[in-house]
């Protein structure tokens, strides 16, 4: 139950959405883009979100696009996690999506919502970071495509009135060797203790993390250490873990010490799995 009131708007084109946002703002309102709505509804119940107008982007055709061509995969941000999982165009992303929440919730949670949400795990971002994807953003100045590394730094960096339309990635990445591991405190449903996505481009190992810090990230320094193939795996992991962007999380999912233990083991599993595959 949302205890405050808002108006609901359902634009059918990008332009309409952007204009709506601007005009609502001019009327002194606080509009918010609305995709799956799951986070907006559940957090506003706890007064952690406020809006007096919501703009549902699910009915914008571009946001629902699913195009796979020879060299590019285009995913609309309003696709549900279930759709991403079941179409399986990008197996690593499909795997990451399939581990979030539970299936019924995934019928509602969207890709864009997961990337832009407040709940800081944002696990679908990990594969997107690994494949250097591009993000299509609509805003006052029209529609533009920008590298994810530019617009996603810990969280999505948008100007007021901007929203995510699509995510694009080079098809060459889709079939590269990869692993996704989500470790929970206990059981098969729930937030991650740590989640690691990894992809191998040639000999280069790429890794992205969630649950380790209060934001998902990919770190060149961490990757440099993990790729220091002249060292034994243990040492590579130890050095890599000294390069985390922030001290490791310490919260109700697990203490910092224990997380570190789990993260080490997870990295070990990932490195051995991907490097064993080489032989």
């Amino acid at each position: 139950m949302v205890s405050f009131d808002f108006t609901y708007h359902r634009p059918s084109s990008i332009e309409e959405a952007v204009q709506l946002f601007a005009s609502l703002q001019r009327q002194g309102k606080t509009p918010i883009y609305y995709s799956g709505g799951t986070e907006i509804i559940t957090l506003s119940r706890l007064n952690l979100v406020f809006a007096d107008a919501v703009i549902d982007i699910k009915h914008i055709p571009e946001c629902q696009s699913f195009d796979i061509s020879q060299n590019q995969l285009v995913l609309g941000t309003a696709l549900t996690l279930t759709a991403i999982e079941e179409t399986n165009a990008f197996p690593l992303l499909a795997k990451a999506a399939s581990e979030i929440a539970d299936r019924t919730a995934r019928n509602q949670i969207t890709l864009g919502g997961n990337i832009c949400g407040q709940i800081f795990y944002r696990e679908t971002v990990l594969p997107l970071l690994l494949v250097d994807s591009d993000i299509v953003i609509a805003g006052k100045s029209g529609v533009q495509q920008r590298p994810i590394h530019e617009v996603f730094q810990q969280s999505i960096q948008l100007q007021p009135g901007e929203f995510l339309v699509q995510v694009k990635m080079n098809a060459a990445y889709l079939t590269m060797p990869h692993v996704h591991m989500k470790r929970r405190k206990q059981g098969k449903v729930g937030y991650p203790l740590v989640t690691v996505s990894a992809l191998k481009k040639g000999n280069e190992l790429r890794t992205a993390f969630s649950g380790v810090c209060p934001f998902p990230f990919r770190s060149p320094k961490v990757e440099e250490m993990l790729n220091a193939r002249h060292l034994p795996i243990d040492a590579r992991i130890d050095y890599a873990l000294q390069q985390l962007p922030e001290p490791i999380l310490d919260d109700i999912e697990g203490s910092a010490e224990y997380r570190l233990f789990v993260l080490k083991n997870t990295l070990w599993d990932i490195l051995t799995e991907l490097e064993e595959a080489e032989r």
């Binding site: 949302v2 405050f4 808002f6 108006t7 509804i41 559940t42 119940r45 399939s98 299936r103 509602q108």
Partner: protein
């Protein structure tokens, strides 16, 4: 409450057309229960965590506590009240797949969508679907038996 936030919402629920005047911020669960008197879908957490509020929208299970009623415009909503002699209902009865019955409507809607959409569902698929719902009374084993019995019937009638 500003009157502008209320509006008329046309809904199709269990094949019947309704029109309700509700707040645009009202969830589907709230409207089903408080406006249409369809109390089969249950509030268990209002947070997307328990599945007690599960209904079908165009045959897909959703948690009705996490969707606005207004989003259901143009869609076909099915609640437990809309199931008539679905095999899964009988299977739940025969396999003692509930005790207090509070989680049951949500479980049944999810399981119904599963057996209808994926009659050849494997064990991992059954798990993946049904882990969306929490039951505190049964051991889940009874529910598993109920679902499997319906799948088996479907297989048998296909062969």
């Amino acid at each position: 409450m500003s009157s502008s936030s209320k509006c008329e919402i046309p809904l199709t629920v269990n094949g019947e057309k309704y029109s309700v005047i509700a707040r645009q911020a009202d969830t589907l669960l709230f409207v089903l229960r408080n406006h249409l008197g369809l109390t089969g879908a249950k509030p268990g957490c209002l947070n997307g965590d328990c599945g007690a509020c599960t209904v079908l929208m165009d045959k897909t299970p959703i948690k009705s506590c996490m969707i606005l009623a207004i989003e259901a415009i143009g869609k076909s909503v099915t609640t437990i009240e809309g199931l008539r002699d679905a095999p899964i209902q009988r299977a739940f009865v025969e396999h003692f797949a509930f005790q207090c019955g509070y989680c049951t409507p949500g479980f049944i809607m999810n399981a119904h969508a599963l057996v209808e959409s994926t009659p050849n569902a494997s064990e991992p698929i059954i798990e993946k679907w049904l882990e969306s719902n929490v039951c505190r009374c049964t051991s889940y084993f009874e529910i598993e038996q109920a679902v499997k019995s319906v799948l088996a019937e479907k297989q048998a009638s296909k062969d």
